[in-house]
Symmetry: C2
Amino acid sequence: MARIVMKFGGTSMAGIERIRAVAARVKHEWEAGNEIAVVVSAMAGETDRLVNFCREASSLYDAREYDVVVSSGEQVTSGLLAIALQAIGVPARSWLGWQLPIRTSDGHGSARIAEIDTNGLAAALVAREVAVIPGFQGVAAGERVATLGRGGSDTSAVAMAAAMKADRCDIYTDVDGVYTTDPRIVPRARKLSRVTYEEMLELASVGAKVLQTRSVGLAMKEGVRVQVLSSFTEATDDPEPGTLIVGEEEIEDMERQLITGIAHDKGEAKITLTEVPDHPGAVASIFGPLAEANINVDMIVQNIAHSAGSTDVTFTVPQADMPRALEALENNREAIGFGGMVHDTRVSKISVVGVGMRSHAGVASKMFKTLGDRGINIQAITTSEIKVSVLIEEDYTELAVRVLHTAYGLDAEDAA
Amino acid sequence: MARIVMKFGGTSMAGIERIRAVAARVKHEWEAGNEIAVVVSAMAGETDRLVNFCREASSLYDAREYDVVVSSGEQVTSGLLAIALQAIGVPARSWLGWQLPIRTSDGHGSARIAEIDTNGLAAALVAREVAVIPGFQGVAAGERVATLGRGGSDTSAVAMAAAMKADRCDIYTDVDGVYTTDPRIVPRARKLSRVTYEEMLELASVGAKVLQTRSVGLAMKEGVRVQVLSSFTEATDDPEPGTLIVGEEEIEDMERQLITGIAHDKGEAKITLTEVPDHPGAVASIFGPLAEANINVDMIVQNIAHSAGSTDVTFTVPQADMPRALEALENNREAIGFGGMVHDTRVSKISVVGVGMRSHAGVASKMFKTLGDRGINIQAITTSEIKVSVLIEEDYTELAVRVLHTAYGLDAEDAA
């Protein structure tokens, strides 16, 4: 007997037929004697529909009312899954965010879970009743409905698993696990049986969108064992294994690789300021206005000073924020004192990720050499303890991912 | 300054453009200095969509989970109207059923409002904030979501008006008031400026579906002044008057008519049992099984006993309940001891309604004579203190309504 949180995304909940399939899968775990809480997303497309209603009603909508509107999608699917479970003989009830309650911060629209009261739930689980919990929602101060931001149902599931001290948190999604890289680019990509929280965080933050980044951070903090599985294989006693996301101590030395995966991200834009005065404080005068505009700057390269006492500064921002970034910089042109400003959205960030690189030198130099051998120019570099990222011309994205996947020995042996 | 409840139905809330029009209308009352609570329905069609999801998920759905699902429609529109009001400078917030709370009975799916706590609301109203309240919903024992049954938003509005001691309850709908009869049948039908609760109850129960019957009964019990208005005329300082539904004491003698309106109802079915034994208890043996099956029997006619000691019994039930009624009777054929059973759905119930008939004899005889003069056969009769109803062949419905409308002097003088 185990205590399990099962989470199903919007594609898995899209329509009654699929909800019935989810119910069958839940029943399978329930019949094995497990205590089960199910966290559900809204039907695919429903949250977009509701968000659009709010935007149509007012471009500057009240986030508290937005939360009332958009949280309804998960309310619907939680009630429907409870009905579908009962219909196949599994006792079940829905627990809305305010009913448990799931207490959140006051950041309406992207609130954080503060505390989950599982007292009411515990009795139901012991009585063999399945608890169906709408993801993405909670209740903030003043008993106002709150939502956690897009993709928040992953975070709901991990937070529920932590609060319930669940043995594991199974995230059912439309992919069957985490791969060494995007299989659409590299058919020889391998599904990882295990990956550490840190690696998953780096992979998620650079574009391998299997789980919401926040949910992985929370799982790491709370030590929740997360499993990513496909919801589109049949429920059997011997299911196709997914990918387990765990602490580093759980990864056996034998299965540990130097590099775990290669990620790419075409969502960044490069901005270069030319003829920036080369004196202390100049860099602060650039990034201060961007921080104030709440724009995340990622890679930063400062060229060696020109003879004339000025330098060039290059950095990247999310493409969606580029117009606002350009505006913020232009508004501060005098204070910064730059000569020119150029930008480029045809760039791509390629990252190699792996906890193994902590104890091995040469990962970065191998990356630079591999790319250089293929004539791929590196425009910027950034590193963390378990990641090396480079910015390259966007057209070379697929080539770069493929050659790196091979160079680090990640290609599957038996695949096509 | 007045305290007003404004209620808008599903057609008025169907889409953002219409919600914006509702917001403009609310603003108009708010700018006049009134304290306002708005009760809203779900967007037209939305409740049907949600009900169908539940039915698809299971033919025997749990009413508590059904309530979780279907109450979401009003949650969406209440949040959107709050946003639309804020967008035009009117402070507003939504108050969900569990937030006020609106306490209900445990009859999930068709719960009754037990108590509304307006303490939180009162402070907001005094602070000139408009309260937007989803109709149709409340919270039952165990803090479970409950709904009031189809059309329940009218009842929500009247109950809110009673709890808030509102000066009036304005029901905005897709008709502009209550008419002497259906204007599609009689173009010379007149809009009534006032009608009593009792008359409205009789008109609603015989097919003039402007308001949910329960809401009228509640308004009568609580003395809530209800006004029916069109939501599709422009909001102005001098609005088109609707119909005021009030106590009898508020109707001036001068405007009092003998008959207030003519209603028709094609939703009944006639069942006749032949050769029923003519002895005490025979009738009870017929209607006992129907009561057990929760089927409302309306008109009953027992023929004079045949010479052989048996009789025929004719009665009507709602057409939707007819198959179940026939089944219940067939299952009890031996206990009842009837010879044959015939049924007919091609019948129509025509009613003349008016508090004036209390003090005037001859209303019924005038009705019978008027119909008889046109060769319309009367199959059954039922009366109340302020209503006379007859059952006729369905094909004569429109003719009967027209000749009665003229006979009782209800035709407008200036209409086409």
